[in-house]
């Protein structure tokens, strides 16, 4: 277009817009490149080195660490556990978050801002502190067990702490606000009239949701799902505090390897985690978009 335009626009605008674009994109790009990409590249290189108890890290270029990860059922088991927990948490967040986000988006209440603040409120507290709260709830002499025993439902305390269920509950509590806020902002952008139009044409609420609301809110669902899935895959404090010593997810595994000074293997586990997260996220994105484009 610009090439076909009047000459004065071609000469005046092009350098200005290029400069503006550089000014706008530059600082963030430099920051990300220096603060994220450079360390990632270094870590990636480390993942091909060899661990030595005395020298810590020996420079070499070998895929041994990746082979070790995928050849050992213990490590692949940790990866599957992580995928399962992240997927379950994401699904639960979506199922619970969508109705809540819809109500928040459509409410005319003067307390709407207060309701949104209530959703945001848990984010003011760190993950570890929230996990500590769950520990008080789930402990052998915690609120839940004491209440159930007092009511007479159980006679011996249930083992709630240090279970996968406790970890899933903890991660859902952490991730739910992200899902709700993402969905709420997208649903708010959908004109209420399209829903009314569907109803006026005879659609029941379920059909309206399936045929109108769901496709239109898909960008929000995708964004919220991706966000919560990534957070679930990389969870650290919650699995450590609520999962106990026998429960292992990838985040704590990476940290554990660095604790042992085994940087090469820790780096390779970190890259397996990152690749799995990015790969699954991108695949889900493509599949969902294709499905709803038809």
């Amino acid at each position: 277009m610009a090439a076909n335009g009047p000459k004065q626009f071609q000469t005046d605008e092009a350098p200005t817009s290029l400069l503006s674009a550089t000014m706008l994109v530059g600082p963030a790009t430099v920051f990300v490149a220096a603060g994220l990409l450079a360390p990632l590249l270094i870590l990636f290189r480390y993942s091909f080195n060899r661990f030595d108890p005395r020298r810590m890290m020996v420079e070499t270029f070998s895929p041994d660490n990746y082979v070790k990860f995928f050849a050992d059922p213990y490590y692949t088991g940790v990866l599957w556990t992580t995928l399962r927990v992240a997927a379950l948490c994401t699904l639960a967040c979506l199922v619970m978050g969508l109705p809540l986000a819809y109500v928040l988006a459509r409410t005319q209440s003067r307390f709407k801002n207060v309701l949104i603040m209530l959703v945001v409120l848990p984010l003011f507290v760190g993950n570890a502190v929230r996990a500590a709260g769950w520990m008080v709830l789930f402990g052998a002499k915690g609120f839940l067990n004491v209440t159930l025993m007092w009511v007479g439902v159980i006679s011996v305390p249930l083992q709630l702490m240090y279970t996968e269920g406790a970890v899933i509950a903890g991660i859902i509590a952490v991730n739910l606000p992200y899902m709700v806020l993402t969905l709420q902002s997208v649903i708010e952008g959908i004109n209420r009239n399209v829903e009314e139009a569907a109803f006026s044409l005879g659609a029941n609420p379920m059909t309206m949701f399936r045929r109108v609301l769901l496709p239109l809110s898909l960008p929000g669902i995708l964004a919220g799902t991706i966000l919560t899935f990534i957070l679930g895959m990389n969870a650290y404090a919650t699995p450590v505090l609520l999962g106990g010593p026998k429960f292992k997810m990838m985040g704590p595994l990476v940290f554990g390897e660095f604790q042992l000074n085994n940087w090469p293997f820790g780096a390779s586990v970190a890259f397996v985690l990152m690749t799995a997260t990015l790969g699954l996220t991108a695949t889900a994105n493509i599949l969902v978009q294709r499905r709803f484009r038809r």
């Binding site: 661990f51 005395r54 810590m56 106990g244 554990g256 660095f258 085994n262």
Partner: protein, 348 residues
């Protein structure tokens, strides 16, 4: 009516103000000996270092002390990452004896010149490492709740007995010391822990509990879901003070020692400051205060511990003779293998 100031007057005023502001600083700089950056665990340890060493000795003496608080894995990683830099970011680092050896083995820490420490003469010979000093020590004792374990254990063998079932507990983060204690219980040695692995598996099959942290272990003792295990004697004193029903016994196999010490990184920016810090740690008053506040034993011969306190935290001369140290080289060499076995086999 006030006259507006000329530019020259404003500049003169600003210069005078800057000069005045710099005066006390310049004056105090003459008294200051420099800055010491100390890498330490946070919490009580950091607080007590400040209370018993930094404030009464070093700061009073004109040093500025900055604490870099973090867990030891993070600080060791930092030391490793800074290894190639000509100037690191810390002058002294607090580590366990095993980790001090590990850093020494990696060539990261300075050999200690004991001639530079005026308190070195009082340091117990066993605490004089070529690459660091032992600041405090305790031992891994057999602990039990007398309400649940009616016959007091006298050995590690009595503790790691499958007959205890789920009344026996171990701590995940203490895998190294637990493995060695179990090895001693099973007739192994500090450099042969295979018998200990076998015994731990038997205990696991009998229902042994694994707690993630020391605090969770204490909670288990308190709630009486747990009856026996092994723990640092100093920590037992803290639990007794907190009202937990627990007693400690020095095992007949010899008590496995835990030493907490300090090293100077080779690339410490202020090595003299590092030596000053180590020397202050060995001061009689600092050592005595740590025994009172933290329940760990002094590592200098001239520290006086009250008899009643010594009875709770200390060891008899016979027990001191029988203290068992880790084989640092062996532990360092096989640490990753031990952890993998612990995670994959014992905890599976």
């Amino acid at each position: 009516m006030t006259r507006s100031k000329s530019r020259r007057e404003v500049l003169l005023g600003a210069a005078a103000l800057a000069g005045t502001a710099a005066l006390p600083r310049a004056a105090s700089a003459g008294q200051e000996k420099g800055r010491i950056v100390v890498g330490t665990w946070g919490g009580d340890y950091a607080r007590l270092l400040h209370k018993n060493i930094e404030e009464p000795i070093l700061i009073k003496d004109g040093w500025e002390v900055v604490q870099d608080q973090a867990g030891d894995p993070e600080r060791r990683s930092k030391m490793l990452a800074e290894q190639r830099l000509p100037r690191g970011t810390s002058d002294v680092q607090g580590l366990s004896a095993l980790n001090m050896f590990q850093m020494h083995d990696a060539g990261i820490v300075l050999p200690i010149d004991y001639g530079k420490l005026k308190n070195a003469g009082n340091l117990l010979p066993a605490m004089k490492y070529p690459y660091g000093i032992g600041q405090i020590y305790s031992g891994k004792v057999a602990v039990y709740n007398p309400k649940l374990i009616t016959t007091a254990p006298v050995s590690y063998k009595d503790v790691f007995d499958p007959k205890h079932g789920d009344k026996l507990g171990i701590i995940d983060i203490q895998y190294q010391y637990t493995l060695v204690c179990a090895a001693l219980a099973a007739g192994g040695k500090v450099n042969d822990i295979e018998p200990g692995k076998k015994l731990l598996l038997e205990c696991k099959n009998a229902g042994m509990r694994i707690y993630p942290t020391n605090e969770a272990f204490a909670q288990g003792l308190k709630s009486e879901e747990l009856g026996t295990g092994v723990m640092w004697k100093a920590r037992v004193v803290q639990w007794q003070n907190a009202g937990i029903s627990v007693d400690a016994v020095a095992p007949i196999e010899g008590t496995l020692a835990y030493v907490s010490g300090f090293v100077i990184p080779k690339n410490a920016p202020n090595k003299e400051g590092g030596y000053a810090y180590l020397d202050a740690m060995l001061d009689k008053s600092a050592q005595e205060a740590f025994a009172v506040d933290m329940g760990y034993n002094p590592t200098v011969s001239n520290a006086v511990v009250a008899p009643d306190l010594n009875k709770r935290i200390g060891f008899t001369p016979d027990e001191v003779k029988k203290l068992v140290d880790l084989d640092y080289d062996y532990m360092n060499k096989y640490d990753v293998d031990f952890k993998e076995w612990w995670d994959k086999v014992l905890k599976s």
